[in-house]
């Protein structure tokens, strides 16, 4: 069976942790006024930029090494869902940090990563841009999480119901079936 390259699997699982943490930090921080608010915000910004960088690397790696083909017997609608959801996941991984960065820029907030490390403003101050980007960042976050839940559901469906090797292609370590010849 053809699997994703080790680099692709490493990036996938590293980013899975990062993105899930990011989404939970995001909804957590906007719903509290306690001191953890500042702690969460101070993680949210650099983690977002880290995800942006990893996503761009991952996109390049994906274009270079491609993905293993889906099983030939996968029904057409599921194939289509797989393609579309992956385009959407890549788009969100790249767009969300940019939206956040743009949103802060449009609100004239300094974009601080760590103490002395600043990012430049990428947009002029603008009420309407800020509102547009804020809304996009906020609502797409929920869409992103919903998409991840569907992605997890699909992965588990491949792993436990269809058992077609799709899950194993991205599994962090080779599974039992992979090393045992099929009977």
């Amino acid at each position: 069976m053809i699997r994703f390259t080790p680099l692709q699997r490493l990036l996938h699982w590293l980013m899975a942790i990062g993105i899930l943490a990011m989404l939970f930090i995001g909804v957590g921080m906007v719903s509290t006024v306690m001191p953890k608010y500042l702690t969460l915000v101070s993680i949210h910004k650099p983690l977002g930029i880290a995800i942006l960088v990893l996503a761009l690397i991952r996109l390049a790696v994906r274009l270079r090494y491609r993905a293993p083909a889906l099983p030939a017997d996968l029904p057409q609608p599921m194939k289509l869902a797989a393609y579309l959801s992956h385009y959407a996941l890549y788009a969100l991984m790249i767009a969300m940090p940019l939206l956040g960065w743009g949103m802060l820029s449009a609100a004239a907030y300094p974009v601080v990563l760590f103490g002395v490390v600043h990012l430049p403003s990428i947009l002029p101050q603008s009420d309407s841009l800020h509102t547009l980007l804020w809304n996009a960042h906020y609502y797409l976050a929920f869409a992103f999480f919903a998409l991840i839940l569907m992605h997890v559901a699909a992965a588990l469906f491949h792993a436990f119901v269809r058992r077609d090797g799709v899950f194993e292609a991205m599994a962090p370590v080779p599974s039992h079936e992979e090393v045992t010849p099929a009977e």
Binding site: L23, F24, V27, G28, M29, V30, S31, T32, V33, M34, P35, K36, Y37, L38, V41, A107, A108, Y109, P110, G115, V116, H118, P124, Q125, S126, D127, S128, L129, H130, T131, W134, F145, L149, V152, A153, L156, F157, F160, V161, R163, A182, E183
Partner: protein, 348 residues
């Protein structure tokens, strides 16, 4: 391929449980199961008067007037903080005199609390934003206490404030100030205080917990609220515009250093008056700027926007203020059409 005879129903159920648990954890984190959680949305909503918020305006300190000027550091602050703003020199400042009211049209004599928002920029790209008020202490010790104060003061129950004060003995010094301290007849004569404590970090990495104040150069002139009312609802803005037009107005910035054991996490408690105080420079207001179209409008005077060398302390308020100010900013920028910039403004 030999499959164990496990029904897909079991697997599908397991998948459904995993997904449902993930969604539930997310909803819990977002506070959807915790209506009692004090969110920025609730805190900001509690600031609104019974008639609803003034759309497009800051949710508190809505009435104000913008200025530009400089902060002239004398270099004395450099021993307490490595922030460039304390190195001897002049740094551009943008700020806003304001009244502690959610009503942008409130008459001056009806508002007890006056405020001073400031943003000082330094060549290293850092900013120091601060929002101070003229009260010597804050009314409550904690953000939830502040929320309770807002609810009590907005309540129709005649006993609400009495019950609040009974439950919050820390309110007494603020209440005494609000009732008995003299009013001044000018923003230029007011002292403004950070109230919250912050941590200054010096070049050696040593930390000093401080509060700061702006001390007016102008001699305070007392005036009763009745007499202030007679001068007109917007007297303070007319007065400061006139004063600044005739001469720059000055405040000395004084930094007070806490001793070990001082109540650094509780802005309702003053520190003993003998604490070491360092005058670090002069804030000079040089020009009154347009409020509706001016440079303050787009600035959130978030007190957690700090340069390297200044950090938040154990005081819980800067975090709560940052969260609430950001909410207020998100709301008012989305409502810009309700508070239009004047037609001549072409800024996007």
């Amino acid at each position: 391929m030999l499959e164990p005879h496990r029904s897909p129903l079991g697997s599908l159920t397991l998948i459904a449980i995993v997904i449902a648990a993930g969604a539930a954890a997310f909803a819990y984190t977002a506070g959807w199961f915790s209506p009692e959680r004090l969110t920025p949305t609730r805190l900001v909503a509690a600031l609104a008067p019974p008639t609803g918020p003034a759309l497009g305006h800051r949710r508190n300190h809505a009435k104000g007037i913008c200025f530009t000027g400089v902060f002239e550091a004398n270099g004395a602050g450099a021993e307490l903080s490595k922030a460039q703003v304390f190195a001897r020199g002049q740094y551009p400042a943008l700020g806003r005199f304001n009244l502690g009211t959610p009503n942008p049209d409130a008459a001056d004599a009806t508002v007890r609390i006056r405020g001073f928002g400031i943003r000082i920029a330094t060549p290293d790209g850092k900013e120091w934003r601060s929002a101070m008020i003229d009260a010597p202490v804050f009314p409550v010790s904690t953000p939830p206490g502040f929320y309770e104060l807002l609810i009590a003061s907005g309540s129709k129950d005649p006993n609400a404030m009495k019950n609040f004060v009974a439950a919050h003995p820390e309110f007494a010094p603020f209440g005494d100030w609000a009732k008995n301290a003299p009013w001044t007849d000018s923003y230029a004569e007011d002292r403004f205080n950070s109230l919250n404590s912050f941590v200054f970090v010096d070049n050696a990495g040593a930390e000093h917990v401080v509060r700061w104040s702006l001390l007016p150069a102008a001699q305070p002139v007392s005036i009763s609220p009745d007499d202030l009312a007679k001068r007109g609802p917007d007297f303070l803005e007319q007065d400061i515009a006139q004063r600044v037009a005739s001469a720059p107005q000055r405040w000395t910035m004084a930094v007070t250093v806490a001793n070990p054991g001082d109540p650094i996490a509780d802005p309702s408690k003053a520190w003993p008056t003998d604490r070491r105080t360092v005058e670090v420079g002069t804030l000079i207001v040089q020009k009154i700027e347009a409020e509706q179209d001016g440079p303050c409008r787009e600035i959130n005077f978030d007190p957690t926007v700090l340069p390297t060398g200044i950090q938040v302390s154990d005081d819980p308020f800067p975090a709560a203020r940052s969260a609430a100010y950001m909410k207020s900013y998100d709301l008012r920028t989305a409502e810009a059409k309700d508070y239009p910039r004047t037609a001549t403004s072409t800024k996007p």
